[in-house]
Subunit: 144 residues, 2 copies
DNA sequence: CATAAATAGGACAAATTTGTCCGAATAAAT
DNA sequence: ATTTATTCGGACAAATTTGTCCTATTTATG
């Protein structure tokens, strides 16, 4: 559904958020270990999230990544997906037609629209904060 | 959502179905033109669908592809997707975890399950025949 | 100031997906 | 029987995505 880059990005942002909630800034190394992702590749994705103001990075010794407390509430899962995969998830015909809309639809246009609307709703309604809740309680996981 | 191969496969199967309804067997060349897909690549996909009994192929002059009338009603969109993309659509964690289930879920496991169930329902409830209806009536399209 | 620890970014490499080419096999038509 | 039109299948090529490596830059700390 999402690209690998996007999957890593969501997991990374979620982990960073859990740590930022306790005021801890985390390093790339730690992130990659905690979400079990390739470190250098994860670095690229974090850069992208940083450029898109999803998270803040600090260079130098004791540097790392963090997310402002207030932003953890505001950032939606969809923001992260958009920052990495663009609008590919929402746009684009399910059968790959360049133009596909209500006026000239593909044979499954309506059915796909319905499902993508559900997906979009979910992505827009899910906050980063919400994703951190189960993690701290040990009810959800970011690796394995 | 689906691979390019899968998109072409669905479009091809749908076109073949419309023509098989009138007893016409169609050639690869015609299919590729009608669904606007790369011919040689489409050939590979049709082979795959043929091996999976989604459609029948006939070699030699006047050969081509067709689908038995009775099968057009029986084949579901999900059968085509499964023949090409396997169970990737249903299985697999939304965040890319190797193991993700109700016991040890990722932070968005439940939300993804809900959406994927909807998708699965749609794929299993949509028959190839149903997809041909709008096409003949000029209400839906397979290219552009 | 020097050093160490960290991110930034460019170039490159590997893997996967997408797409092409061509010869072999098959079957209808002349 | 030969020709012609077609699918089959293998090898290859291109494009994209995923992943690695190395150097430069930045910043805290002694």
């Amino acid at each position: 559904m999402f690209s690998k880059a996007c999957e890593y990005g969501i997991r990374a942002a979620t982990y960073i958020a859990t740590q930022s909630l306790t005021g801890r800034r985390v390093s790339l190394r730690e992130i990659a270990e905690e979400i079990d992702s390739p470190m250098a590749f994860t670095a690229k994705i974090l850069q992208q999230l940083s450029r898109n103001q999803i998270l803040d990075s600090a260079k130098g010794a004791a540097g790392g990544f963090e997310i402002e407390r207030a932003r953890i509430d505001q950032i939606r899962l969809g923001d992260i997906v958009f920052a990495i995969d663009g609008n590919a998830v929402y746009a684009g015909c399910g059968l790959g037609l360049r133009e596909c809309n209500a006026a000239k639809p593909c044979p499954v246009h309506d059915k796909f629209v319905a499902i993508r609307n559900d997906l979009q709703q979910m992505l827009e309604n899910t906050s980063l904060y919400e994703m951190t809740l189960g993690l701290e309680a040990g009810l959800t996981y970011l690796k394995r």
